[in-house]
């Protein structure tokens, strides 16, 4: 028997702000849609463990897309994008995610993202609370300054290795070495997008005076943060959740900023807790 994974990949065309994108996504499973955003400068292989996790995919349709300019999703199809500096904004990012979910005809998806995906999950809960059943911000916070750095694209250094080794410490020493090196390898591929992504992460994203406008009853918010994350620490996650009505915070032990990619076996235990809290797991699955 050929050892073919049940995970499939497809392309979908998405229009947002008069820009057309051809978006690549991986998916597996059926039931409640669970839309997954990778971290800045990376791509959807970070969700490789989740995409093949039978306990999750038996009642969730897991969809992990490549944000445009990442992985197999090209930059805009209809603009001369090479004549502008890429700087991702909260406005465009959130509109894109909603447009993608519309194009895929998803009904009340759960949105989960890590790092700049965790931050945009908070933005979605603020801007589009009725479009999502819940959001799961992973390694997110109200504000995360300090990572919009010129080093990611310095012409006198090897950007691939600066990006990859620059994020190495974001992972926990307990995480399997092979999975940390896969994550490192992904980060050698995305330096051009990384800095522009971090414009959103460290500059444009600032919800410090807006957390009270997020209603965790209308759009449940379950935040997950690892103890080895030096950018958005558990204290940052807890503080953020404390200021959102009805939000819940879960601290993840012995894991870092790329939990789904560096150690899915540890991450999944906390994710199952989050999904149980949201109520998306079937009775059979929870038994």
């Amino acid at each position: 028997m050929p050892r073919i994974s049940p995970v499939t990949g497809r392309y979908v065309t998405v229009d947002v702000d008069d820009i057309q994108y051809k978006v690549f996504y991986l998916e597996n499973g059926s039931g409640q849609p669970l839309v997954c955003q990778h971290t800045a400068g990376c791509h959807n292989h970070q969700w490789r463990g989740l995409l093949e996790d039978e306990e999750v995919t038996r009642d969730h349709r897991v969809i992990a897309y490549d944000l445009p300019r990442h992985g197999k999703s090209d930059p805009p199809e209809n603009t001369e994008w090479w004549k502008e500096e890429y700087r991702l904004t909260a406005d465009h990012y959130t509109k894109f995610i909603v447009a993608l979910c519309d194009e895929l005809e998803l009904d009340q998806p759960i949105f989960m993202g890590s790092s700049f995906g965790g931050n945009v999950a908070l933005q979605l809960a603020l801007r589009y609370p009725d479009r999502f059943r819940a959001v799961i911000p992973v390694e997110g916070a109200d504000y995360s300054p300090g990572f919009y750095l010129d080093w990611w694209q310095h012409p006198h250094a090897n950007a691939a290795q600066v990006c990859a080794s620059g994020v190495w410490d974001l992972m926990a020493p307990q995480s399997p070495e092979a999975d940390r090196w896969k994550t490192w390898f992904y980060y050698t591929q995305g330096s051009e997008a990384f800095k522009g992504d971090l414009y959103f992460y460290s500059v444009d994203h600032d919800l410090r005076d807006k957390l009270d406008q997020i209603d965790g009853e209308r759009c449940p918010v379950v935040m997950l943060t690892g103890t080895y994350d030096y950018l958005t620490t558990p204290d940052d996650g807890r503080r953020t959740a404390d200021h959102i009505k009805n939000a819940h915070f879960i601290e993840m032990e012995d894991i870092g900023h790329f939990p789904m990619s560096e150690n899915h076996e540890v991450f999944r235990r906390y994710l199952l807790q989050a999904l149980e809290r949201i109520g998306s797991r079937s009775a059979t699955a929870q038994a």
Partner: protein
């Protein structure tokens, strides 16, 4: 959080030998360190060292050099307490790398940081070797 101290402080001369051996025999540094040529200061509060690398091999470790004795391009400075946190098999959070300790502890990256960035992969690995060779402070 307080870092777990090493069980005992390694004598300086012994540390220089074990650090040099660990680096020169490390498969990763030897596989990827062809251009790992630079000099940097490790300031550990109670001792400081200038490590001079040539093509991935330790050419010299100067122990407590005088102010103008030995040149270097960049410096990694932290308290002895922080370095002790690095010197455990599984460091506690924020003692697990120079970026983490710089963002969240008292570590400072100074001098020509571009040279650090140019050699980041090998430096990162070399600092992780402290988990086994410990620190002399």
């Amino acid at each position: 959080m307080t870092a777990t101290a090493s069980s005992s402080t390694v004598p300086v001369e012994e540390w220089v030998r074990s650090f040099t051996d660990a680096s020169d025999n490390d498969p990763e540094i030897q596989a990827h360190g062809k251009y790992f040529t630079c000099g940097y200061l490790l300031d550990m509060e109670n001792h400081h060292f200038v490590v001079r690398m040539i093509s991935g091999r330790v050419a010299e470790v100067a122990v407590d050099p005088g102010p103008l004795d030995v040149g270097y391009q960049f410096a990694i400075r932290a308290s002895a307490e922080t370095w002790r946190g690095f010197a455990t098999e599984i460091p506690a959070p924020m003692y697990h790398g120079i970026w983490a300790a710089t963002f969240r502890r008292d570590m400072k990256l100074e001098g020509d940081v571009l040279v650090l960035m140019q050699n980041l992969r090998c430096i990162t690995r070399q600092i992780e070797l402290l988990r086994t060779v410990r620190v002399p402070v």
